[in-house]
Subunit: 324 residues, 3 copies
């Protein structure tokens, strides 16, 4: 598990601080809270949240101490964790995240960027007009293309090729990764609370993790996670103009072709093949060895070894038979 070097946590948050910010009464016993996290990643003394019965199985094994939720789920949570009942779950999560990560809403321009100090990177080749933030780490024999921006604290492994006009932020990259030209990786996801005349953004404190031997094509957008991370598994290859939203987790050895889009928080297995322009809805689980035909719209979970096509996607043999 990679520690997040991008968002600095306030280590001094107590239950009483959280209750206060939510406008709730103090409890008898106060307690130091470690972090805010999703149900799956939460460790002891973490606070988490529950907002959909979809995640009931995860709730059952969650180590979270406190769980923010709404009235109707109170009795369900009771059995496993201590519920904190609020009117607006997502807004409360936002407020607590801001408490732990006071700088996390500031997703603007990195003004610490400078030309690379060649002496510090003596086995790295840089193109022209490269800009690096503070504490960027790059492994030996890596190559960084022209006009590329690498923001503070990004880490790149060895033997990587980063192309031209690429923007990397809040991202940790393994070894032998190739990222071609014009992609934007690690910006905040498209998650916010709709609010008439002035939406408000919740913090995105996740990262993008790109594993060894991955290839990412041109003009892609890969958003970082909100609470958990966006992950691209080992040896997965991604074509051009692909959009990967926040919290998506793609397995190993996948092949994702041009203009595919992933809505947020889906989990894709290993050895998954996705044809051009297919779309994967949010919060789905796609198994291993799944084959999704070009142009498909996947709106349901898919078990291992499925072969689907269509909108909505169905068994590919049915699709082709019905459309002969």
């Amino acid at each position: 598990m990679n520690k997040n070097p991008f968002f600095i946590k306030n280590e001094n948050i107590y239950l009483s601080d959280i209750l206060k910010i939510l406008g709730k009464k103090k409890q008898k016993n106060d307690l130091k809270i470690n972090d805010i996290s999703d149900l799956k990643l939460a460790t002891k003394n973490d606070i988490s949240f529950f907002n959909s019965p979809k995640y009931l199985d995860i709730l059952k094994t969650s180590k979270a101490k406190y769980v923010i939720s709404s009235d109707k789920y109170s009795s369900k949570i009771n059995k496993y964790c201590e519920p904190i009942i609020v009117k607006n779950v997502l807004k409360s999560v936002y407020l607590i995240t801001e408490l732990f990560y006071p700088n996390s809403l500031d997703d603007a321009v990195d003004f610490s960027l400078e030309s690379p100090d060649i002496k510090k990177f003596n086995k790295i080749k840089f193109g022209k007009n490269v800009l690096l933030g503070k504490n960027v780490k790059i492994g030996v024999n890596s190559i960084i293309g022209h006009n590329t921006i690498i923001e503070s604290n990004v880490r790149i492994g060895s033997d990587c090729i980063i192309g031209n006009n690429t923007l990397l932020k809040n991202t940790i990259i393994g070894n032998s990764v190739r990222i071609l030209d014009g992609s934007v990786i690690g910006k905040k996801g498209f998650g916010f609370f709709p609010n008439k005349d002035k939406n408000f953004r919740y913090p995105h404190i996740g990262m993008v993790l790109i594993k060894d031997n991955v290839e990412i094509g041109c003009n892609n957008t890969i958003d970082r996670g909100s609470l958990s991370n966006t992950v691209i598994g080992k040896n997965t290859f991604i074509d051009n103009q692909v959009h990967i939203a926040h919290n998506v987790n793609i397995g190993e050895n996948c092949v994702i072709t041009g203009q595919v889009g992933f809505a947020g928080s889906s989990k894709i297995g290993d050895n998954v093949l996705i044809g051009g322009q297919a779309g994967i809805s949010g919060h789905l689980t796609i198994g291993n060895n799944v084959n999704i035909g070009g142009g498909s719209g996947v709106i349901k979970n898919l078990p291992d070894n499925s072969k689907v096509m269509g909108y909505p996607a169905k068994d590919i043999r049915s699709f082709l038979k019905e459309n002969k």
Copy 2:
């Protein structure tokens, strides 16, 4: 209404000039013509055009004095305005637009770009390698990211964040707008007259208007209008890799997710939600509070409060029932 600072109008155009360029006979009385405009925006002494019965209702209340059209609509126009009948309406509009806006076909590179003169912008923060054209106006406390290009006469309000590698031209931006990285905003639309071996472009003299509190994600393309403007309403949020063609008018408080595409000249209401990869055909009217499912292809007008999905898009309950 914003006056267009991008395309300078020839203020000395008479009806006789227009008839001459169209190869038509002089009329008895000559008259100074104010401008060329669409039927809706046209004011007294403007010339406009009518090329589809779809716009009959607008014709009825138009203030245009003269209306370019083809023979078959002559009698319809007669009742409201004075028709000028031509063989090729669009080509005639092109010729007249060029007469009023002689520089409007020149959509090439802005060679007046220079590094910002920090003294002139004392409360603005600029990243590295920013290039600004002439007469760019930026409000206080705005931030401009690295490698971003802002062409001549663009106006940006206060408290805005413009990201990195972004290109802005022919655009007027309100306050508290955030534009992330890699978008191209304000280039000419994809409108031209097909012509064997050498198409010819008609002028695009519209702008892009982006209202207060809008957020625009990464690698988007938003084209400016041809005669009217492309408009993004207040507090509308747009995700990544969205394409918005010329003359599209999006209302307030809309949510447009990744890879959505709008063909030209559609009007989208307020509080409209559009799921990933959906496409909206040209010249449609989408009502308020409409919800369009991911992957949909909308090819008809949609009344207020519609909930649709599918290709072509239909009532979402029918779509889901038929596809169970």
Copy 3:
């Protein structure tokens, strides 16, 4: 036919070298082999490959001397050319291509880029921060926008306008071509051999050829060919966010609207109109004067004058009738 200035061929390859690299026995008579090429373009003394019965008609008229193929096609090839039977056709093609073009796998950053030497280009206008590789040729009266990168050996005709933030490599451009902003043209295609934990790339030694009067919009990606070229025919206009994969061949006077995607190796005729977000599968033949509705997914060949819509695409009248 344009000679490829990008990938330098080893002119000294003999049949014995090829058999050796494939792990096959020497033949009695050795022979100098000219090049590796696809069946259609192959000339006498070239080696080619056959991997799908789809290409049987092309095989019949191919001038290739040797054809790499698998056991099951041996008897078919026998009649026209001399088969060389291998277990893995694509891997063998990769090995032979590497033999002929030893530098072709190196698709990384062009480190020869420098600011243009104005004296060498005295009728060309360059924006700021333009970077050119070695031996770039640009015709008179062409304009190159800000921050644009043109890699070594690229050729641009006269009267062209190349926009801002554009990346051109392995591309030959005709006269009066306009390429707007943010596109990536000529990078290697998404072709590789899937291989657990570490895929391997086959060489892409094709180019992108862009003919006279073409217009290409913003944020597009056009990949170069693997063995043959990717071609955009004369006076074809392409909108924004279009993806064109390797080896695609688009005819003349076509109109390709926003967010359309082409999988690899399809051949598109002349005067073809493609609506927004449509997708064209790989290895198809689309005739002349074809009209493909927005959002369509084309998965079969289409004869001349077809008008289709739907996913999968069918006759547009049937589609609209069924979906009334």
